[in-house]
């Protein structure tokens, strides 16, 4: 066999799979987003009416808004908690490996099951209410109050994903070169000065990668919401992916759901391009 053929033999199976299972379906989604396609009724081309419909759809804006608020809340808190923990525990100390392993447990717990687990913890007679009452406070209706439910889910997301920030930022901190820090110590620079002038600037690529990944994931979150609120009460926690899923697989409005996913994809693309440039910054 000649060299060229061997080369192709290596990458073709995966590329064919990716093309037929991702590129083709994505093209199909783009296609049907221009059609009035509801399961059970005739398919009609509707000149992009689906996109216009989205702009007039209260639940579309509701979902977009909820996903945005949710993402901002969880990523901010996860970042500061994760960074704080990583900075505090980055020096040589016993027990850090144990904490790393413990953090992995939360990170890899099946998200829908985590949602279900917290359903029990947030129960009116559950341990969280017990704790709140022990401090003499009146616990809110965690999942039943439309004003509180989103924050409750955010708390669960923070439990599951702060470990991600911690592990990634800790790895970033530990891969920093030692010499500048030794020089800083010899110059007797204060801890805050060392952080501001050395640690933070050198950690920026890692921070940006962690943030991009978390933002894109939090923005498309689905499972924890299914476990905890299923979008309720009312539509107070019906985040974007939940609404799109419902339009597609409960109302079977395929055309409209396709348009909704593509609008989302455009928003996501901005983040993706950002990530690419960051990865390049770090590796190439």
């Amino acid at each position: 066999m000649n060299q060229e053929r061997v080369k192709l033999l290596f990458i073709l199976p995966a590329l064919i799979w990716i093309f037929s299972m991702i590129v083709f379906p994505l093209g199909y989604t783009i296609g049907i987003s221009f059609y009035d396609y509801t399961l059970g009724s005739p398919i009609k081309f509707n000149y992009g009416l689906n996109y216009v419909r989205a702009i007039e759809d209260y639940r579309f804006w509701n979902g977009l808004q909820l996903s945005t608020i949710f993402t901002i809340i969880v990523v901010t808190i996860e970042f500061f908690l994760g960074l704080g923990l990583a900075l505090l525990l980055s020096g040589p100390m016993r027990g850090r490996r144990a904490l790393r392993l413990i953090m992995l447990l939360a990170l890899f717990a099946c998200p829908i099951a985590v949602g279900y687990l917290y359903l029990m913890l947030f129960h009116a007679r559950g341990p969280i209410d017990m704790l709140v009452k022990a401090f003499g406070l009146a616990p809110p209706n965690w999942l039943g109050d439309p004003n509180v439910a989103l924050l409750t889910v955010a708390a669960v997301d923070i439990w599951e994903w702060t470990p991600f920030m911690f592990l990634v930022l800790l790895a970033g901190l530990q891969s920093l070169p030692i010499e500048p820090f030794e020089a800083a110590r010899i110059d007797a620079a204060s801890g805050w000065l060392t952080f501001r002038k050395l640690t933070f600037p050198m950690l920026i690529p890692t921070i940006l990668i962690a943030l991009t990944l978390r933002i894109t994931d939090a923005f498309k979150i689905f499972d924890i919401f299914v476990g905890l609120t299923k979008g309720g009460p009312g539509t107070s926690t019906e985040v974007y992916s939940m609404y799109t899923y419902r339009v597609a697989l409960q109302y079977f409005k395929f055309g409209y759901a396709a348009a909704l996913s593509l609008i989302f994809l455009v928003v996501m693309n901005i983040a993706i391009i950002l990530f690419f440039n960051l990865r390049r910054l770090r590796k190439w």
Binding site: V6, A14, I18, L26, I32, L104, H123, S175, D223
Partner: protein, 302 residues
């Protein structure tokens, strides 16, 4: 000589460490313990088995709760380990294993190719880096952007609610991650040994199989484990294409509320079954986790 400030700092560190460990572990510990409690004790603030409460297996295997007054609960109970849940566990395990194997079969050659050869795609003028970035970008694709075509394709192929359908979807979902991680692994491997072997008469294929592959076996195992965990935990695809016959454990849990009232002691059993396997698998792949989670952008950490 240890200054007082250093002592305070060190104590503070350990306080934070212990608090965060408790924060992470408490919910997991609580649910596992609940699965061994009598139904009426579910919300009792008791934490230590044997000392504070008598652990029982009835929630798991069914049977009688004995002479304990169980309120509205019938004394003879069905266990959480029903045939349905075992079936779901088996589906999850089979789909996650088979798809992760497929990811390796498709991904390893592709990754090796991208790391070792120079490709040029004619019309769009793509090189290795572009192919690589393209595959990487697919990891960001929100799953609901492709569920409609997936649903219709599987329906057309008569693969709805079947394991093969699920395996195809999970392979698709994990393949980009697999290729990206494995490419980095092959790229980190010095190519000189393979080149020397080829000078000694090996073909490219045999140099790949005889020299490169054995060297990356631990990384292959780690990639396999990561793909396994992501497939195990996945919900949206499984919810879309499975209902009863091939439903995975996440789907089983998502369906609970609509089919029965809240039986927390049984829910605790199911949640335990769903969360423990991926945790154990993740512990096995510990060293590769950060790399896997950041698509190869951040390495290591110990």
């Amino acid at each position: 000589m240890v200054s007082a400030a250093k002592w305070v700092r060190s104590i503070l560190k350990y306080i934070v460490l212990v608090i965060s460990a408790i924060w992470v572990l408490f919910p997991i510990y609580w649910v596992v313990m609940t699965s061994f409690k009598y139904p009426i004790e579910v919300f009792e603030p008791t934490f230590i088995p044997w000392l504070q409460f008598k652990p029982i297996l009835t929630n798991w295997i069914g049977g009688s709760y004995g002479e304990v007054t169980t309120g509205t609960i019938t004394a003879v109970a069905r266990g959480g380990l029903s045939t349905e849940i075992l079936h779901a566990l088996l589906s999850s395990f089979a789909a996650a294993t088979a798809s992760s194997i497929l990811v390796l079969l498709l991904g390893v050659p592709c990754a090796y190719g991208l790391a070792r050869f120079i490709y040029r795609v004619a019309v769009i003028k793509w090189k290795n880096k572009d192919i690589h970035f393209f595959i990487l970008s697919l990891r960001f694709l929100p799953p609901f952007a492709v569920i409609i075509p997936f649903f219709l394709m599987l329906k057309f192929a008569n693969l709805i609610d079947s394991l093969p359908g699920l395996i195809i979807l999970y392979t698709t979902f994990n393949l980009p991650l697999g290729v990206v991680l494995l490419r980095d692994i092959f790229a980190d491997l010095p190519s000189e040994v393979e080149e020397a072997a080829m000078l000694d008469g090996d073909t490219r294929l045999s140099a790949f199989a005889r020299i490169a592959l054995p060297l990356v076996l631990p990384s292959l195992a780690a990639t396999f484990l990561l793909c396994f965990v992501f497939a195990w935990n996945e919900l949206m695809f499984a919810l879309t294409v499975t209902y009863i016959k091939a439903r995975t454990i996440p789907v089983y849990i998502a369906q609970i509320e609509s089919t029965q009232t809240m039986e927390f002691w049984l829910n605790a059993v199911w949640v335990t079954l769903a969360i423990i396997p991926p945790m154990l698998v993740a512990l096995l792949a510990e060293r590769y986790i950060v790399r896997g989670l950041t698509l190869g952008a951040v390495k290591g950490g110990g």
